[in-house]
């Protein structure tokens, strides 16, 4: 054998190599010309080589073989290629169940590396090596399907959406992970579920969809605030809502600017291993919202539109006119005052007027969105526009959202890419939720309390002044027409959320990401009370707020597989985020005309002192995470974040939040690897610390507020502290331990998840009430500890999966137990001050060993001989005092659950979505004035008339009808708030693929659905989903709240 000398480094063609070899040796080459037609140039290094060495370099990697003869070298295809040569060509298509092409689906011949990708129309052509080859079809988000080729030359495959989704990608903090590699507890809700029925807030769509996540609606008004509790209530100082991160941007509050149809997925991070990367904001869990991104391929257009009609779920059964008059007379008789009505008058009344009819109406929702997405290998985009318009079931209330969104990805070069997300939203809402109050001094209160013998208008067409109608009617009551027609309260907001990220990948393993973002919200509220409002000269007020948050994030990620078995990834980063809020407000009183409304405050006769404010806080953070997987069986995650917050006292500004997690995939072990029953089994454990930023900026400073007083008939300045006494404050820290199990059976047809967790929150921040003689009524202190522990179970099954009929069932149930472990000095903290005249007291208590928000009051003990309510003298001192108060109810549910059943028969789909809460109590504050405040001329539910104490009916539900009622905050007002609700029932029809294609559409779906149409509850008032005081520590209080409606929807989804 000869040697060949290469004199310098060079790039050459195969022909040139053969020529060099031929020139320096005597070899001739025999090979088919086309072998080298498409081959790239080879790099030859300077040096001396044997012929074999040279040929090895250039041939082996091209699947060619050679044999050296004496003077000839025969170049042939390698054995592998020879096999492939004996190919069978197969063509076909890959679509989903609706017949939508799955562009980019992978088709691989099993046991080989032979594979192709389906084109934009889902079509493919490939050659297989053997007639008995099996093709494996796969696509992200769909179940993989294996099809033997057999004698077929055309294979059409429909892939089912992947119920199990083990290879799905899950978004986690500052990155993504394969679902099967999760070590933490993360729930995912998909686009389809989020968009199942119209909702003004994306979080409404999460209710019942994710275990351990409780979605709490304050009331039914359009755009009403929504609270989310992940694994219970940790904090009593207010901050219990999770952190929302929208496309990587930690958002300042509830992301109301988003349109449901824009959302690709929502991930709920629950355990500390998942949330600790968000450090001081992770204690309440983290909700990651990912909007739809463009995909490479043909441009797609999706249009969704729906119309709903909402109505009041039920009316309360109130006394009619005749009953009302009789009832008032009963009171007069019992109080020994002259009767208000003669028998003749009573008999002249009949049904009278039901004031519920005055304020409630049937109201529509219109929702429309358009999404255009597509792109090529360099640039991908998703562009969307949407409108959501809801009118409320209380006249005059509405909520409108107009939104535009763009997500853009562009690869500047192989190593640098840029990603831009932006959402622009305009919100406009008119609020009509005057609730609460007593004796009908709020709109909703008046609708229940107004006398049925009164009418809304007098004979001159003016609003009746209800308090002047009869001498026995309390003057507080206001005709609801005043609120409906003469009071307006409009809020408009423009919200911008934008984020730009540059990604630089110098080598495949290393990714540097530099991102900057801005959240901006400008809002303006206009309130006007017209001259026609009861006792009004016209009051106009305008207030504006400007909120801005700037974000800067720099992260460096490293991913590497060492050997076969060690998968390692690491992340480090630095972030800065600030929050600046300014406000401005002005108002005026006394207008000559209503024409001005809020648009010319200068026209007012008197101007109030204008107000403005400023607040700023800053969060500085360093973060890091390491993931290590050994042999795909043992997974380890360690994360760390340190946050510095400006809101805390000097010396307490920095918090440190580590976490760690381990998971063991038993199903990868030899003993389970080929188990026919268990396809997946993983156990997980995690521990970590997270924090809460529960206080507002400047809470630790003893600020003085300005005001005015009068001397010489002139205003002069005053400066004094507010009513809250500041104190030195430090972080509230939550330590969480989680144990989880993921089990997949029968190739993932049934997936079962279970998690057990314990969360201990320490240095709890709380408003501590002070004796009012201090002049301060409250202060904030790090007072104690709270524990939440619970179990979450989820089951996801594909019961049937034929081509004609499919049935998927997804259910979850979560149990959480909350208790206050310790409080400052062991002292109880009373809360939820309720004052409705007939009763005025605190209704909740924080007490060691008991759950947060527990109702606190007296236990009733029947009636005395005069028909007055008696209370249990629990301390036995012969008197009823505050010491006789005890636990009278608990607003925390024993468990919450959701069940989604999705059935498909041919082109029809029936979806049932049930959601519920069990074992929670509601404190029905509405019923205190509405069933006990006698002698004020209030109308009341019929049962008060028909079941009150008389000498003949001593076991009555209500006491003697007398204005000297002995009411206290008692168990009488606590009701079972459990409910089971068909949140959504939907029947959808997908037009057969052929028809829609002919019409030029990719798919067409039409549906009708009903929301809240079926509800099982024993709660007596309008609706059990109610939280007049929000979701803090005053959960489950109903005080003349705007009720949640039921609604009927028809909709259309088009794809093209």
């Amino acid at each position: 054998q000869g040697k060949v000398i290469i004199e310098e480094d060079q790039y050459v063609t195969a022909d040139k190599v053969f020529r060099i070899i031929g020139e320096q040796t005597n070899y001739n080459f025999i090979y088919p010309k086309e072998f080298f037609k498409d081959l790239p140039k080879f790099q030859l290094k300077k040096g001396e080589f044997t012929v074999s060495e040279l040929l090895d370099q250039i041939l082996r990697r091209n699947n060619l073989d050679f044999s050296l003869g004496n003077n000839t070298i025969l170049i042939t295809e390698s054995t592998l290629v020879k096999e492939l040569r004996q190919q069978y060509q197969v063509t076909g298509s890959v679509k989903d169940k609706q017949g939508i092409p799955l562009a980019g689906a992978n088709i691989i011949e099993k046991g080989t590396s032979n594979g192709v990708v389906a084109d934009f129309d889902g079509n493919f052509t490939m050659e297989v090596s053997r007639p008995d080859a099996v093709l494996s079809f796969s696509f992200i988000g769909y179940e993989t399907k294996d099809v033997p080729v057999g004698q077929n030359t055309e294979i059409k495959v429909q892939l089912a959406e992947d119920a199990q989704g083990l290879e799905e990608i899950v978004v986690i903090g500052y990155g993504t992970v394969r679902k099967s590699d999760l070590t933490g507890s993360v729930s995912q809700v998909k686009s389809k579920d989020i968009n199942a029925f119209p909702a003004s807030n994306v979080l409404q769509a999460v209710s019942g969809r994710a275990a351990g996540v409780q979605v709490i609606q304050n009331n039914g008004s359009p755009g009403s605030p929504i609270s989310v509790r992940i694994r219970g209530t940790n904090s009593v100082q207010g901050g219990n809502d999770p952190l929302y991160v929208v496309d990587g941007f930690p958002f300042s509050g509830n992301p109301t600017q988003l349109n449901n149809s824009d959302i690709e997925s929502i991930e709920v991070l629950k355990d500390a291993s998942a949330t600790a990367i968000y450090g001081s904001r992770g204690a309440n869990g983290v909700v990651l919202i990912t909007t739809k991104q463009g995909k490479e391929g043909k441009t797609r257009i999706d249009i969704e539109t729906s119309t709903s009609m909402q109505s009041l779920r039920k009316k309360l059964s109130l006394m009619n006119a005749r009953e009302y008059a009789r009832f008032q007379n009963l009171q007069a008789a019992n109080d020994n005052i002259p009767l208000y009505f003669t028998d003749q008058q009573i008999n002249s009344y009949s049904e009278g007027y039901d004031w519920q009819d005055l304020i409630f109406q049937d109201a529509p929702i219109i929702s429309t969105s358009l999404n255009v997405s597509g792109g090529n290998s360099k640039t991908r985009f998703s562009l969307a526009g949407g409108f959501f318009g809801q009118e409320g079931i209380i006249k005059g209330s509405d909520y409108n959202r107009y939104s535009l969104r763009l997500n853009l990805d562009h690869n500047i070069s192989e190593k640098i890419s840029v990603n831009f997300n932006t959402t622009l939203t305009h919100l406009k809402t008119e609020r009509k939720d005057s609730g609460g109050g007593h004796r009908g001094n709020s709109m909703i209160g008046a609708a229940l309390s107004a006398a049925p013998i009164s009418q809304p208008y007098d004979e001159n067409g003016n609003y009746t002044v209800l308090g002047n109608e009869f001498p026995f009617v309390a003057p507080d009551i206001i005709n609801p027409l005043n609120f409906i027609n003469e009071l307006s309260n409009v809020t408009k907001a423009n919200v911008v959320l934008s984020r730009l990220a540059f990604t630089y990948q110098p080598i495949e393993e290393l990714t540097l990401k530099v991102a900057g973002g801005i959240e901006n919200r400008d809002d303006r509220s206009d309130g006007y009370r017209s001259r026609n409002f009861y006792n009004s000269e016209g009051i106009a007020g305008v207030s504006t707020g400007q909120f801005r948050s700037l974000l800067s994030e720099t992260t460096l990620a490293y991913n590497k597989v060492f050997g076969e078995k060690h998968r390692f990834s690491a992340l480090a980063g630095f972030t800065y985020q600030d929050f600046v809020k300014t406000t401005l407000s002005a108002s005026g009183v006394g207008f000559l005309s209503d024409e001005f409304e809020t648009h010319n405050l200068g026209a007012a006769q008197n101007h109030n002192v204008p107000g403005s404010s400023y607040s700023k806080s800053v969060l500085l953070s360093y973060l890091g995470r390491i993931n290590y997987t050994y042999s795909d069986r043992y997974l380890f995650t360690f994360s760390f974040r340190t946050d510095g917050s400006s809101r805390y006292s000097p010396g307490n500004k920095w918090g440190y939040f580590p976490s760690g997690a381990v998971a063991w995939k038993l199903s990868e072990e030899e003993f389970l690897k080929d188990n026919s029953l268990i396809s997946d089994l993983k156990i997980r454990g995690s521990w970590g610390l997270t924090g809460s930023q529960a206080i507002s900026p400047y809470t630790t400073l003893n600020q003085l507020s300005p005001g005015n007083t009068v001397f010489d008939d002139q205003l002069v300045n005053t400066f004094a502290p507010g009513s809250s006494l500041p104190g030195d404050l430090k972080w509230e820290t939550t330590e969480q331990f989680d144990l989880g199990l993921d089990l997949g059976l029968w190739e993932g047809r049934m997936v079962f998840n279970a998690d057990f967790y314990v969360k201990n929150t320490r240095d709890l921040l709380n408003v501590v009430r002070l004796p009012s003689s201090l002049g301060f009524t409250s202060t904030v202190q790090n007072v104690g500890k709270v524990q939440n522990k619970g179990i979450e179970l989820g089951l996801d099954t594909r019961i049937l999966s034929g081509s004609m009929f499919e049935w998927d069932l997804f259910g979850n149930i979560s149990f959480n137990r909350n208790k206050v472990v310790s409080l400052y000095n062991g002292e109880d903290i009373l809360g939820a001050s309720i004052n409705v005249l007939v009763v005025g007291d605190n209704a909740t208590i924080l007490k060691e060993g008991r759950p947060i928000g527990q109702f606190w009051g007296f236990k009733e003990d029947g009636y005395d001989e005069g028909g007055r309510i008696k209370f249990q003298d629990l301390d036995g001192d012969g008197k009823i005092t505050a010491n006789d108060k005890t636990y009278i109810g608990d607003p925390n549910p024993k468990f919450i659950y959701g069940l989604n059943s999705s059935m498909r028969y041919k082109n029809f789909e029936l979806t049932l979505f049930i959601q519920g809460s069990q074992g929670n109590d509601i404190l029905n504050v509405s019923s205190i004035p509405s069933t006990l405040d006698y002698g004020q001329g209030m109308n009341m539910p019929k049962e008060v008339l028909y079941d009150h104490w008389t000498p003949e009916n001593q076991n009555a539900k209500y006491p003697l009808i007398s204005r000297n009622v002995s009411a206290r905050m008692s168990d009488r007002f606590v009701e079972d708030g459990s409910y089971l609700r068909f949140k959504n029932i939907q029947l959808a029809y997908n037009l057969p693929a052929g028809i829609s294609e002919k019409a030029g559409f990719r798919n067409i779906q039409m549906y009708v659905s009903a929301q809240n149409y079926i509800t099982f509850t024993r709660y007596s008032w309008w609706d059990p989903e109610v939280n007049s005081r929000g979701a803090g520590t005053q959960l489950g209080i109903d005080h003349y709240s705007y009720p949640i409606p039921k609604s009927l929807t028809v909709g259309l989804r088009l794809g093209l």
Binding site: N606, G644, L704, N708, V710, Q714, L715, F719, A720, G775
Partner: protein, 461 residues
């Protein structure tokens, strides 16, 4: 980086305030805010406790003389909270002003005197309506748990504060509405009257009278009373000793118009809630001389409670800016009261009515008939020197006529021990023990560990 985490709130804080006279003055001004905001309510509720006053709706319960029910106990609690907020603001001045770095000792003394005057006035309201209350001073303003002091201890602080105020306040007010040395003397006189120290009450009221700075406003008609003594346009009058000032500005006006007025009277441009009223059938009214102009401050309006219903027209305001914001000031001490305190103290010290005592009483009496208060007249009340009891009764009755809806009557009846007698006489009702003192509010009892709800609550609650 650490600098980014410092808070700069763009506002002032306790730690960096109270340095200049302007700082301290604005802090003193803040003492007035809570007191002014509840004065109207305090007045009308006290008068609903009297032998001539009535409340409507939830306020009807005050006339039952059975103690306060929950809603009215809570309303009393809200007034308690405001009183203590004023005390806190006063204590902040008393504690911090002496440490100011740009204020003279003279200014410090002056502002501390004003703060102590207001603190004394507030404790005087508290002690008469709640009894011995927790005594918050600059010494214990941070201490959460503080037991009730005795009535004597409260009065001791009041006297001490007023002695200081009397020494350092100005002779004439820097701005109308600020207390003067004479305001301090008048308040002291009233305090001494309540303490039964008639010598001192006589001395202090005498000092005010002898200063010659004050005189009764002459009137000849009901309208004169409404306009020249209580009118919404008045800046001040010769009769003003110490008033809370209100102006026709949103949140800075007087709320009493709305509480008292009835839309039919036309005395108030925002109608009114007529939450408090009188009764023409009540002996207090029937026995009242029709020639007394003050009787004309009642209008008969039947709004559903009978033809004898009376609605007050003492406060008239045709140009309020909202229903809460009339321009009328609320008198705390008028010169008329100084004269009547003097009359009573003089008679008690001398063991019977002296001519000075009788003259002081008659000055007030004559003016009420539209006569010159300085000239003897046919309406003059006459007493022989031995008629001590009759004279004191006459003074008490004169106060009853003169100070309607100024919140004096119930406290007078309690002070003189006549409450039960007069309530029985004019309303025919027995007074429950619980009615004499309002309950210590839940907002105090629940959060003050030094007050035992069992043993420290006022009788009957």
């Amino acid at each position: 980086c650490e600098g980014l985490l410092e808070e700069n709130p763009k506002s002032v804080a306790v730690e960096n305030f109270y340095n200049t006279p302007e700082d301290v003055e604005s802090a003193v001004n803040a003492i007035y805010t809570p007191l002014r905001s509840i004065r109207a309510e305090q007045i009308v509720i006290l008068d609903a406790h009297s032998d001539w006053g009535y409340g409507r709706g939830s306020r009807a319960q005050y006339n039952d003389f059975a103690g306060l029910n929950t809603s009215n106990a809570n309303a009393a609690g809200a007034r308690w909270d405001s009183f203590y907020k004023a005390i806190r603001n006063a204590n902040l001045v008393i504690a911090n002003a002496p440490n100011g770095d740009a204020i003279s000792q003279e200014e410090v003394d002056f502002y501390v005197a004003e703060a102590r005057f207001l603190r004394a006035l507030t404790y005087f309201d508290l002690v008469r309506n709640w009894g011995g209350v927790p005594l918050r001073t600059e010494e214990n303003m941070q201490q959460g748990d503080l037991p009730r002091s005795t009535v004597d201890e409260v009065y001791a602080l009041i006297v001490e504060d007023l002695r200081f105020a009397e020494q350092y306040l100005d002779e004439s007010p820097r701005q109308v509405g600020r207390p003067t040395v004479y305001a301090a003397k008048t308040l002291l006189a009233d305090v001494y009257l309540n303490l039964g120290d008639y010598e001192m009450a006589l001395q202090k009221s005498g000092e005010v009278i002898r200063s010659g700075n004050f005189s009764l406003v002459p009137v000849t008609s009901v309208k004169d009373i409404q306009t020249n003594i209580f009118g919404a346009d008045l800046l001040t009058s010769t009769e003003e000793i110490f008033y809370f000032k209100y102006s026709r500005d949103t949140d800075q006006g007087n709320f009493i118009l709305w509480i008292l007025n009835h839309p039919d009277t036309g005395h108030f441009n925002f109608g009114g809630a007529y939450a408090h009223y009188g009764d023409a059938a009540n002996p207090f009214y029937t026995e009242w001389d029709d020639a007394d102009l003050r009787k004309g401050l009642w209008d008969q309006v039947d709004f559903g409670l009978g033809t004898t219903t009376l609605v007050s027209s003492k406060y008239v305001e045709p140009a309020a800016v909202s229903r809460n914001d009339g321009g009328n000031d609320l008198p705390v001490y008028r010169y008329a009261e100084v004269l009547l305190i003097f009359a009573e103290a003089e008679a008690r010290v001398s063991g019977g009515p002296t001519s000075a005592a009788i003259d002081a009483l008659n000055q007030v009496h004559r003016r009420a008939y539209g006569l010159d208060s300085g000239m003897e007249s046919e309406v003059d009340l006459k007493f022989s020197s031995g008629e001590s009891a009759r004279f004191l009764e006459a003074v008490l009755q004169e106060r009853g006529y003169e100070f309607q809806f100024e919140g004096k009557r119930w406290l007078d009846l309690k002070r003189t021990g006549k409450a039960q007698e007069m309530i029985m006489k004019n309303k025919g009702l027995a007074i429950a023990e619980a009615h004499y003192l309002w309950p210590i509010p839940i907002s105090e009892i629940n959060f003050n560990g030094a007050i035992n709800p069992e043993t420290d609550q006022n009788p009957g609650y």
